[in-house]
């Protein structure tokens, strides 16, 4: 992870760690959520299978439930003794008290936002173009990669930004799932939360809020620039 030179700006070592960790967690959460996010969005937008509504409901759960509940849920499922976590941990994949767990929690919380954005974009893709690509000999996977995916890029970008921002802001599920260990699982939000819980912590909280906002704005601007260049192309002024 790059050194942002934050220590020289008057941030304490735990704060610097939290900032770096937040970035790492948010980036990984977004990247890791992307493939399943696209797959689920595709299934929901195009699929006609049994359990479609159920799947739709399940991925919305993190949005519907208080984050603490989602955190408990993750603990039950993905914890060391959890239904999925137990077999995984015997494979050496441990989420508990690990930054990976924070990324998982952030990814799960951002998942419904990401899926919705991508799904909207998929639904806006003109199926006739995909048909045209098919008649030219492209098998469905190829059509997806060369036609559907580029055309749904606005949604993928929007979904990624939402997930990234949510990952920076998420803390209820994260702290419940992997706790708030400075230097290890304490993200920016966790650090901000800790400040807000002690009388007189407002100044510290505000400083970290500023960092959080700056990071998100950078991500936002980046995505807007990308989106603009994409739409300029498609829009025609070649």
């Amino acid at each position: 992870m790059i050194d942002l030179g934050l220590a020289t700006l008057g941030f304490g070592p735990d704060e610097v760690a939290a900032i770096h960790l937040s970035l790492k967690v948010a980036i990984w959460a977004t990247l890791a959520a992307l493939p399943p996010g696209i797959a689920v969005a595709l299934a929901l937008a195009r699929g006609r299978f049994w359990g479609r509504d159920l799947l739709n409901g399940v991925i919305h759960l993190p949005l519907i439930l208080p984050p603490v509940v989602t955190g408990y849920g993750l603990l039950l499922l993905m914890g060391r003794q959890g239904l999925i976590g137990k077999p995984l941990s015997s494979l050496g994949i441990v989420f508990a008290f690990n930054w990976t767990g924070a990324a998982l929690a952030a990814g799960v919380m951002g998942f419904p936002l990401m899926v919705r954005a991508i799904r909207l974009s998929i639904e806006a893709v003109d199926a006739k173009l995909e048909q045209a690509a098919g008649t030219l000999g492209a098998p469905p996977v190829w059509v997806f990669a060369t036609v559907t995916l580029p055309l749904m890029l606005p949604g993928v970008l929007a979904g990624s930004v939402l997930a990234f921002a949510k990952a920076l802001g998420e803390f209820g599920a994260t702290i419940t799932f992997v706790s708030n260990i400075p230097g290890r699982t304490q993200t920016l939000s966790g650090a901000i939360y800790a400040y807000t819980q002690s009388p007189g912590g407002d100044a510290g909280a505000l400083r970290l809020v500023a960092v959080s906002v700056a990071l998100s704005l950078a991500a936002l601007l980046l995505s807007e620039t990308l989106a603009r260049s994409v739409s300029r192309r498609i829009g025609g002024l070649s």
Binding site: Y72, G172, S179, A194, Q197
Partner: protein
């Protein structure tokens, strides 16, 4: 909700206060409306003008915070309840630890689970965490475990970490441990190892409810005492 008082109470008091409230209503009082949230949030809301009549904090700090701003009737402030700090393990764990000065909590953790962590309320934010830190420091064990904590958002979350086997040991309130079948009390911290765990209560400065004083008195009365004790609290101010 009738004309009963509006009570802002720390979330961990929910079971006990709900029971007391029911008893109060049964005894002819106007049932109180009780809001449970983190003490910090409640204090800041009162600061922002929340129409609370009574504030019950989970620690002295947030009560002091409001007192400093002149937002409580200091004459009505007193410590309502006390609590004990305990070390817990999962119900089926065979861990045994004796709490004494210099005790090797880190080894106990390792014995139960290699590299295992100690679940606590976040010492930076949660009262239970602050008490735990004080106690461990006093007992000379803090340095051994301060890198091995699992600081949770609140006591209940810490408890869940232990109950789910994520952390082999945890430090929580006796009241929480008593009600969670997933955990077993391994040992209780000596009362003198930390500042007394107190739940101060006071009337808010802008309290308007005529029933507020009555409810406050009821909570401190012998009638309420068994209800608190049933939840594991120590009742400090029964008259």
């Amino acid at each position: 909700q009738g004309d009963g008082p509006l009570v802002f109470a720390a979330a961990s008091l929910k079971n006990a206060l709900d029971a007391a409230n029911t008893a109060y209503a049964a005894s002819g009082g106007a049932k109180a409306t009780i809001t449970y949230a983190a003490s910090s949030a409640l204090a800041k809301q009162i600061e922002a003008g929340a129409p609370a009549d009574i504030f019950i904090s989970a620690d002295e700090d947030w009560m002091d915070y409001l007192a400093g701003k002149g937002l409580i009737q200091t004459t009505t402030r007193h410590d309502l309840l006390g609590n004990r700090l305990v070390l817990v393990a999962a119900a089926d764990a065979k861990t045994s630890v004796e709490i004494k000065p210099g005790f090797a909590l880190d080894q106990a953790l390792d014995a139960a689970q290699k590299g295992g962590r100690l679940a606590v309320g976040d010492p930076a934010a949660v009262p239970a965490g602050k008490y735990a830190k004080a106690a461990l420091t006093k007992l000379g064990a803090w340095d051994k475990v301060q890198d091995r904590l699992a600081p949770a958002e609140n006591v209940r979350a810490a408890l869940a970490l232990v109950a789910r086997g994520e952390a082999p040991l945890g430090i929580v309130y006796a009241t929480d441990a008593a009600a969670e079948p997933g955990v077993r009390i391994v040992a209780t911290f000596p009362a003198d190892s930390h500042a007394p765990i107190l739940y101060p209560i006071a009337l808010a400065k802008d309290s308007v409810s005529a029933q507020a004083q009555a409810f406050l008195e009821f909570l401190a009365s012998p009638k309420a005492r068994p209800l608190f004790e049933a939840q594991g609290f120590t009742v400090l101010s029964a008259k």
